[in-house]
Amino acid sequence: MKPERWKQVSDLFQSAIECAPEERAAFLDESCYGDEGMRREVESLLTSHQRAENFIEAPAFEVAPELATNDSADALVGKLLGHYRIE
């Protein structure tokens, strides 16, 4: 996406989530007038926004500490694949 268009999408997305839910459709009608592609883009981001509430809110390390230490892989590797060593 071209930078100007990306900026426009970002700005509209931001304004739309700051709108009261009942005013959102009217806001998009007006601000995306004549640009259906833009409207679809902003609407699909709004849908994701509603579903993404807890997504990546907890840091990666706190969710999957074993991927920072690789403990479980070490245990498996030691047992099953003697030639494969993960440090």
């Binding site: 931001q14 709004l46 990546i56 498996l76």
Partner: protein, 193 residues
């Protein structure tokens, strides 16, 4: 166990180079910082009681104290270390996730013997790799949003800390974070469908 002063000096110097714009310095930091992050992560995990949350920032702060010579003002202090460490944490976790995935592909025998915890790890590995890739695409479109996600998700920084580091208002960080989350979430759900 104390960190040798030569390592401290090297880490401090490399961080100075990195914050001065030398991207290659970060590559050289990986082997120096990685063992310490490993060790601390391990230490914290064994110390935590079940149900207790681990604190990414606590680990990174401790790594900072152990690895950086704070008496030499060659660079801009703790926040730069945390930012570098966020990138390093991302690298370490993504590398491990990739190893897990290649192990899975490598041997049928392995799959049978995986216990439940290992299966969870398999899923997380796949998710982490997908997120890493989506974050790369986001960086191509909007580097700042991608960096905010990196600092928060891999460095454990709060909105306030992220704003301080990037010299942005908290409101801007919050807005960018919200959009980045929605965008990444969409990328990842499209991949699944």
């Amino acid at each position: 166990m104390t960190t040798p002063s030569s390592t401290r000096q090297e880490v401090t110097q490399l961080l100075g180079d990195w914050s001065g714009g030398d991207d290659g310095a970060l590559e050289k930091l990986v082997p120096l910082v990685q063992p310490e992050l490993h060790r601390l992560a391990h230490h914290y995990m064994s110390r935590e009681r079940p149900g207790h949350t681990l604190q990414t920032t606590a680990i990174l702060n401790e790594a900072y104290l152990r690895l950086v010579d704070d008496t030499k003002p060659v660079w801009q202090g703790r926040s730069h270390f945390i930012a570098a460490a966020a990138q390093l944490m991302r690298r370490i976790m993504v590398d491990h996730a990739r190893e897990r995935q290649s192990l899975k592909r490598g041997g049928g025998a392995l799959k049978v013997t995986l216990d439940e915890a290992a299966l969870v790890t398999e899923t997380r590995s796949g998710e982490l790799l997908a997120l890493d890739e989506a974050l790369e695409s986001l960086a191509a479109q909007d580097p700042r949003k991608s960096q905010i996600v990196e600092l928060r998700y891999f460095g454990g920084l709060s909105v306030k800390e992220t704003a301080e580091f990037l010299k942005l208002s908290q409101r801007t960080v919050e807005r960018e974070w919200t959009m980045a989350k929605a965008w990444l979430y969409r990328e990842l759900s499209e991949e699944e469908s």
